[in-house]
C-alpha cells in the first residue's frame, strides 16, 4: 500500500464521516462546520491529484467565502435546532431508496465504463496551473467573461432581496 493510497483513504474517510455528520447534526451551525471539514478534506484530495490551483480556490472560495456567508446567515437569523415534524411521509419512505438508487446507478456506471481510465498523475502538477490559466484565458475566455456578468447579477439580486421594503 503506497503512501498516496493511505492519504487517500484517510481523507476519504474524513470526507464521508463529515458528510454523514452534516445529516446527523440537528443544529445548522454544526452542519456548517461539518461541511467546512468536507471542503478542506476535498482540497487535500485535489492536492493529492496534483490540482493545486483548484485546491487553493476550494479553500479560499468555498471554505472561506461561501461558508463564512452561511455561518453569518445562520447567526444573523439566530437559527435554532431543527424541529421534528412528521408532515412529509413521502420523504421518510422514499428518501433512502432514492439516494441508494442514484448512488448505485452512478457507481454502476463508473464500474462498467471506466475500468480503463489511467490513474491520476500528480507528476504534472507544476505545469498544471500554467496550463489552466492559458486555457481559461484562451479557449474559455467568453464563458469566463460571462461569469463576471453572472456575479454582477447575483450581487444585484442579493441587494434587492435583502433590503427592507419601505
Amino acid at each position: 500500500m503506497t503512501a498516496s493510497l493511505v492519504i487517500f483513504f484517510v481523507l476519504a474517510t474524513v470526507t464521508v464521516l463529515a458528510a454523514i455528520s452534516l445529516i446527523v447534526q440537528r443544529h445548522p451551525i454544526h452542519g456548517a462546520l461539518s461541511l467546512i471539514v468536507v471542503m478542506v478534506a476535498l482540497a487535500g484530495l485535489y492536492l493529492l491529484m496534483g490540482a493545486e490551483f483548484v485546491a487553493a480556490v476550494q479553500i479560499i472560495v468555498y471554505g472561506g467565502a461561501i461558508m463564512v456567508l452561511f455561518v453569518f446567515v445562520i447567526m444573523l437569523l439566530n437559527a435554532e435546532e431543527e424541529e421534528r415534524t412528521n408532515f412529509s411521509k413521502l420523504a421518510t419512505y422514499a428518501g433512502v431508496p432514492l439516494a441508494l438508487a442514484v448512488a448505485g446507478f452512478i457507481a454502476a456506471a463508473i464500474a462498467r465504463s471506466s475500468g480503463s481510465l489511467p490513474a491520476a498523475d500528480p507528476s504534472g502538477a507544476l505545469t498544471s496551473t500554467k496550463t489552466l490559466s492559458t486555457l481559461l484565458f484562451s479557449d474559455f475566455v467568453y464563458p469566463f467573461e460571462l461569469t463576471s456578468f453572472l456575479i454582477l447579477v447575483a450581487i444585484l439580486g442579493a441587494i434587492v432581496l435583502a433590503q427592507r421594503e419601505n
Binding site: L22, L45, M49, E83, T85, V102, A103, I151, V153, A154
Partner: protein, 100 residues
C-alpha cells in the same frame, strides 16, 4: 498512485449523502448546504477525470462551478433571509403557501 475509480466512487457516495441530506433535513439552510455538498461531489469527479485524462478542461469547469456556487449562495441566502423574515421560521414545511 490512486486509481481514478476510487475518486469517482467517493464522488458518488458524497452525492448520495447530499441527496439524503436534501430529502431528510427540514432546515432550509441545511438543505442549501446539502446542495453545496452535491456540487462538491461533482467537482471531485471533474478533477478526477481531468487529471486521469491529462486534460485541464475539467479543472476549468470546476472553477466555473465554484463561481456559480458562489452566486447561488449569495442569491439563495438572500431568499432565505426574506423567507425567515416573512414566515418567522426556517422549517421548509412551514413554507407551504403554494400547497393546495
Amino acid at each position: 498512485m490512486v486509481p481514478t475509480n476510487y475518486y469517482l466512487i467517493l464522488s458518488a457516495i458524497l452525492f448520495g449523502l447530499g441527496i439524503v441530506a436534501f430529502v431528510f433535513k427540514r432546515n432550509i439552510i441545511t438543505i442549501f448546504m446539502a446542495i453545496e455538498l452535491m456540487l462538491n461531489a461533482v467537482n471531485l469527479a471533474f478533477v478526477a477525470f481531468s487529471q486521469s485524462l491529462g486534460k485541464t478542461d475539467g479543472e476549468v469547469f470546476v472553477l466555473f462551478v465554484i463561481v456559480v456556487a458562489a452566486a447561488e449562495a449569495a442569491v439563495g441566502l438572500g431568499i432565505i433571509i426574506l423567507t425567515a423574515r416573512n414566515r418567522r421560521s426556517l422549517n421548509v414545511e412551514r413554507v407551504d403557501l403554494l400547497k393546495l
